[in-house]
């Protein structure tokens, strides 16, 4: 099932949140959500309570980042589990270097980094940083255009990023410039032009393989040998 198909029926709960505060994540879904107005009160409450763009707590990590990097444009807001800071992709190297080396920030631990495919809105790369000495952590995000998914590698800053970046390249085709060894890690060595986690790459339809319920794709996929006597049943079983 594609994303577009399922959004109208799923959107019941979000309509009130939409009205209350502007939603950062999914403007693409907005038109589909408007007609589905019937929302149960319990669910509406929850949706409204979800902080999508609340300002970060004063004196927290967002202010520290701004203090350490006064020249960098950043948009910070409070997420559900940590402060989220969005920056431009050109600033990644500067910000990450400072995040690790600045004693005020001391974000020495890179938990993980990964990609998210937002289709027309491009790719998002999310970095999760943690300080082992100070009581803060931060999620840093950057947006890459769909046509040109490139961002500077942070492997020179953290060795931990090495495999994460290779995995993200495998799955999304995001090019990490300056990575020392950007070759397929989880996927086969020659699989360099197919990116499984992109949204334009849906899962294959489910096939039933048992008894009378042989799926409709069976015959065409060549699973049933011609002349075996099962071809007819396969077609009838598809219902």
């Amino acid at each position: 099932m594609s994303e577009q198909e399922k959004s109208p029926e799923d959107s019941g709960g979000e309509a009130p949140a939409e009205a209350g505060e502007q939603k950062a994540e999914a403007p693409a879904e907005a038109p589909a959500e408007a007609p589905a107005a019937e929302a149960k009160p319990a669910r509406a409450e929850k949706a409204a309570a979800a902080p999508t763009k609340e300002p970060p707590p004063p004196g927290g990590i967002a202010d520290l980042l701004k203090e350490a990097l006064p020249d960098i444009q950043m948009e910070a807001y409070q997420g559900l589990s940590s402060v989220i800071v969005e920056i431009a992709r050109d600033d990644i190297s500067t910000v990450m270097r400072a995040a690790k080396d600045d004693p005020r920030l001391d974000l020495k631990f890179l938990r993980c980094l990964f990609g998210v495919d937002h289709l027309e809105e491009g790719f998002e790369v999310i970095y999760q940083l943690l300080s082992l000495t100070k009581d803060h952590e931060v999620t840093i995000k950057t947006r890459l255009p769909q046509a040109d998914p490139k961002v500077a590698s942070v492997t020179p800053v953290w060795n931990a990023a090495n495999w994460h970046e290779r995995e993200t390249r495998d799955m999304f085709g995001i090019d990490f410039e300056g990575h020392p060894h950007l070759v397929p890690l989880l996927l086969p060595e020659d699989m360099t032009d197919h990116f499984p986690l992109r949204k334009d790459n849906p899962l294959a339809p489910v096939e039933e393989w048992q008894g009378e319920l042989l799926g409709e794709h069976m015959a065409s996929a060549g699973h049933i040998p011609a002349g075996s006597g099962f071809e007819v049943e396969a077609e009838a079983g598809g219902e």
């Binding site: 399922k6 979000e14 309570a49 979800a50 997420g79 993980c112 998210v116 999310i126 499984p196 986690l197």
Partner: protein
């Protein structure tokens, strides 16, 4: 007669290890470059077990994807389920009832013990204790495994935790059964201790091997026993206390040298600490509901994103969920500890003897399904 003096020509050898090798704990391949007996380069090859779980989870609703969490790290399933359920609970704003929190903690800590028993057993084999340590480890693991089976109805893929609590209440004799098993586990740890800890061969093969410093460990993103063995006292249960861990009294064991032996010692001590936590949790286990009163039939998340992590048996097991509304995650990222820990293999192995490569790999305690997801 004059003999021409020529230098002996040496050539670096490439040795392939795996993917089907008994010491790789699954399907893992590494190409070792050796100069004589010393390893000069390691190139790990992973991905043989990659099943696209993150993609599959995008197409499952929030309850269905629990089943997948069992299949990542199949030696610490409850801990994975805990991380996943915590992420969904945070996302949906579900409050977990007290009783469920306690049941979860008890099962998670027992699971940590079984996982470390497995480690100690397999690690003994890696260092040359043919069979004995393995049977010791498996014998003790089996007693706890029986409890898991009684609770969840399954021996491997439990699928017992649910967002909001657990799927059904534990059997009536659960507390009594766990109390019966704990002394056996204590005895099992003692047995392993006697067999391995002070064993001269064991120590000689593991002391000073595969050293990684604390700073390097942080830089490589190591977590769990790997990080603590390098002298960094970092445990999510204490430092980012989640669930109800702040109610229990337990210690975080830390190593001094960051070598293979320290990793073994840290895990052995962690088992004892886990038993302490289980004992306290059994004392405090309250009666009450196991799921919140207003539990929605269908879990629908608001458009938001959340990260939740637990201190798994191998390190920080985290789940990042990006939701755009609806009953399925838009993107689900699994931060698996084995993946991050294994990425530092080269740093730990280069400069050691080729025979120790197996010991170092064993000390990382990887689960290949967790590495590849």
């Amino acid at each position: 007669m004059v003999t021409e003096e020529r230098e002996l020509e040496t050539v670096d050898l490439n040795i392939n290890m795996g993917p089907q090798h008994p010491s790789t704990h699954g399907v893992f391949r590494m190409v070792l470059t050796i100069d004589g007996e010393v390893v000069t380069d390691v190139e790990p090859h992973i991905g043989y077990m990659h099943r696209g779980g993150e993609k599959l989870s995008e197409n499952m609703d929030f309850r269905q994807a629990i089943g997948y969490q069992d299949r990542t790290d199949y030696l610490a399933q409850f801990l994975n389920e805990q991380a996943y359920c915590m992420a969904v609970e945070k996302l949906l704003g579900l409050e977990v009832p007290e009783r469920s929190e306690y049941i979860r903690i008890i099962l998670c800590e027992l699971n940590r013990i079984t996982s470390h028993f497995m480690f100690a057993g397999a690690f003994g084999i890696d260092l040359g204790f043919f069979g004995t340590s393995f049977t010791y480890g498996f014998r003790e693991r089996e007693f706890i495994q029986d409890i898991f089976e009684e609770v969840s109805g399954d021996r491997l893929m439990y699928g017992y935790f649910r967002p909001g609590g657990v799927v059904w209440d534990v059997p009536d004799n659960f507390v009594q059964r766990v109390r019966e098993v704990l002394p056996k586990s204590k005895q099992g740890i003692k047995d392993l201790d006697l067999l391995l800890t002070d064993n001269e061969i064991f120590v000689a093969r593991s002391r000073g091997v595969g050293v990684i410093s604390g700073d390097d460990a942080i830089d490589w993103g190591l977590s769990g026993p790997m990080l603590r063995a390098s002298g960094v006292a970092w445990d999510l249960r204490k430092d980012r206390s989640y669930s109800i861990y702040n109610r229990f009294d337990f210690d975080i064991p830390v190593g001094d040298y960051g070598d293979v032996y320290d990793r073994y010692l840290v895990r052995m001590e962690e088992m004892r600490q886990s038993i302490r936590i289980v004992e306290q949790a059994l004392e405090q286990l309250p009666d009450g509901p196991i799921l919140p009163e207003k539990m929605p039939r269908k879990l629908r998340a608001p458009a938001s994103e959340v990260y939740a992590a637990v201190e798994g048996a191998r390190g920080e097991y985290g789940i990042y969920v990006v939701s755009k509304g609806g009953d399925k995650p838009y993107r689900l990222k699994i931060r698996s500890p084995s993946f991050c820990n294994l990425s530092a293999l080269k740093t730990m192995t280069v400069g050691n003897y080729v025979a120790d490569a197996v010991a170092i790999l064993g000390s990382v305690d990887i689960v290949l399904c967790d590495v590849d997801r």
